[in-house]
Amino acid sequence: MTVDVHWSVTDTPKNHAAPLLSVRHLSTDFVSAEGKVAHALEDVSFDVRPGETLGLVGESGCGKTTTMMSLMRLLPAAGRITSGQVLFDGKDLLALSENQMRGYRWKEMAMVFQSAMNALNPVYTVAEQIREAILLHGVMDRSAADKRVEELLDRVGIAKTRKNQYPHQYSGGMRQRAMIAMALACQPRLLFADEPTTALDVMVQAQVLELLKTIQRELGLAVVLVTHDLGVVAEICDSVVVMYGGKVAEYGPIDLVYNHPQHPYTQRLLEAFPDLNKPGDVLASIPGYPPRLNALPPGCRFEPRCHRKIEICASVSPKLIDVSQAQEEGTLRGKKEGELSSLRHVAACHLCQGPEVTY
């Protein structure tokens, strides 16, 4: 009936030399019908290693979904990637043609969408849709595909007897599992999950997160989890990128970012999350509004709302600073030396002290 699971920080990926996905200086614009340009992303860089779970966190309008769409090159017509590189296994995905890119989509990188009801076609059975995903990529013939569909459904915990039902006959949690099964169809190495549990009940969310973690361990998948829920990220992610106003505010191993946040936004965000273990604490809110992406201030984007701003913040945009050395983080670091050695903790804030980071 129940599963007792211990999540611990030691469940981190073994040390791998090369990242699977390397995003470097990614910038994306949206051009509106009137010709106004919104800089949805600017200079976003991070790495994802094989077997790692990276959380992409921020509130609405911060650019996390746009980042994911840019990486898969699934931006809507108004979106344009203006600069940067997306290196998957060394190859720059942005330099590929659409045809070549299709070879990567689903086969190497797959996606689980937020609202399964919208992403699953209501007039086809679940088995048909998963089979379609397999057959479209031409990796196997029909009978092999059918077997694979059963395998996948089994792996995500959906009874075989239900494979020929329609999406509306599935509960919310089952639909999300079906989406995961579909994403795994061609054995990708990287999975993007866009708010996969936001619409789900807390218990079902726990089930789905556990499933993701299990699958990831069994298949050695790398996962990029896009969400606004800091709690979910703390549950299953190894590293986290905090985004604000289209830029990276802070990035590093989960432990360090959550327990020694350097960016004022991260600090406030963590304070705004109610902790069950400390009821009655004062909850912080962040006054003001996120910046308008078509009328960005010249300095730090968080400056208008920042509680620790200094004079330079309004005029000069902060660069990413490596804060690993400046902090007394040695204890944890020492323990995890072999595992986290290559992941630095960086933050974009003038108050941080340390060497500038160049990717």
């Binding site: 949805a40 609405s60 979904t65 746009t66 809507p76 108004a78 609202s115 936001t198 509004y289």
Partner: protein
Amino acid sequence: MSERWTLLKRNLLDFWKVFGRNRPGMLGAFLLASSLFLAIFAPWLTPHKPTDTMRDANGKAMTFASPAEHGPLGTDDAGRDVWTGLVYGSRISLMVGFVAGLLSMVIGSLLGILAGYFGGWVDNLLMRATDVLLVIPDIPLTLILVASVRQLNLGVSPLVILILVIGLLYWTSTARLIRSQVLTIKERQFVARARAIGAGHAHIILKHIIPQVMPLIVANTVLIVSTAILVESGLAFLGLGDPTQPSWGTMINFAFDRNAITNGAWWFYLPPGLAIVWVSLGCVLLGNVLEEMLNPRLASHHLEDESHMVARPATESAVKG
């Protein structure tokens, strides 16, 4: 109050900004506006009266004079100026079309709102009535009704008969459309909120349902007017119009009856025909564009759609766009 007026002006301006860029819409608006112009300023656009006979230098009536001989559109079989007929005829065609269309719209909207809002037996009753009317073919039914009523010799102008029959028969598509829109609106949370506050049916219909549905009604009216104009033209062509107040359809009727074709007097039947097309096209273009623009789209959830900019805060009201 004056603030409401400012608000209204702001809304109209916003609307105009989007509409102005839509080419089919602007074209439609132009077509319609020019026809209205014709109708309103008829007496100034022609020196003659529709019943005047054009006479040549010798005093003889100029029958079937071509545009080359007597411009701009020549004369008909009795020597009357076609251009004058066209311009005055626009008044009839447009008047019948607009009034019938409005009548249709009012009936259809009312029934659609009632059926959609109350549901139950009210809805059933109205929808079955609609079904009955939809099953019977439009034009034959209209024809028969108009002809029968005229037989009754009630002493009513044939135009009034046309308006009433068209108005009372063509509301069904509007009713259907409005009803389905009302069904959606009824389920929206702001209606539940109004009910939770304690609002009664009248308040909800007047303050919440109608404002939401009004844009659709406006758009649909334009389309219905187009239908009404076409139906009127058709019936007038078949002789059911008022010969003393000829509309464009009546003009074409005359043209056919009085051998304009055999006489090669294309200027008699082509212009009215083109005029009908002109106005109908205008209405349809305008109506379709309005419907597209004004159809309430579901507000998108801010967590799902990130390309939606966060709404600007109240203090930045001066900075638009």
